[in-house]
Amino acid sequence: VTSGVAQVEIEIPSRTAYVAVVRLALASLARSAGLDEELVDDLKIAVSEACANAVLSNEDADGDAPVTVTWTQSSDGVVVEVGDRGAVYDPTSTAEEVDSQGFSTRSLMSSSLLKSLVEECEIGPRDGGGMRTRLFFGR
């Protein structure tokens, strides 16, 4: 697609195994859209962070709703939206949790990656429940 707006929607079961599927699909879309390889790498990480957050958020809420991923590409760039139906949380919280074995639950590192790798990143409640992450990658 070289002109106009193109949209692709992907819905995955809320399982960690499917995050790689989204990553591969979106990397392929990004290359087709002519994004350079460094931006493709950044996008893969940001999308994985957002999808991991979505799956884990569903798990926290004992929910089994699918995770929805929408890719919208225009002349300005690419918008990726990831939505879940999990617990609503404060994305600005800086509390780092550590589990019983001393392993970090990664939320701080995840948010610093999202902030650094993505031109614009918005995380907030989703209409109808759950959380929505919107990522914008400019050309």
């Binding site: 195994a17 995050v19 994985s48 999808c51 639950t105 995840s110 610093s112 990656l113």
Partner: protein, 113 residues
């Protein structure tokens, strides 16, 4: 792409070679292996990331957790990484100040850190 894990010993160091993709799905396997090694007495660990194609915050969380565990035994955990795209992740998250990062396994194993 799957995660691959292989262990070998160089002098007093245990080298864990990681290959493939470390994400929210595969990171628990990396974590289990590191816990096994540390609980089994390996307290000087070198994690070779040169064959890693993808790493996100779940992988970073595992490495930070493993570092804390070896430190509790007065041990060390250093990384081997020469790939810019992986090093970038450590720089963004400030972890280049936390982990000794070397250009080769030999360098890492001969370092006192």
């Amino acid at each position: 792409m799957e995660l691959s894990l292989a262990t070998r010993a160089i002098a007093e160091h245990t080298v864990l070679e990681v290959g493939g993709e470390v994400d929210v799905y595969t990171a628990p396997r990396l974590r289990e292996r590191l816990v096994e090694l540390i609980d089994g007495g390996a307290h000087h660990i070198v994690v070779d990331l040169n064959r890693v194609d993808f790493l996100d915050s779940t992988g970073l969380g595992v490495l930070v957790g493993a570092l804390k565990r070896v430190k509790a035994h007065d041990g060390s955990l250093s990384l081997v990484c020469t790939q810019d795209k992986i090093l970038k992740i450590f720089k963004i998250t400030g972890l280049t100040k936390v982990f000794p990062i070397h250009g080769s396994v030999e360098q890492a194993a001969s370092s006192d850190e």
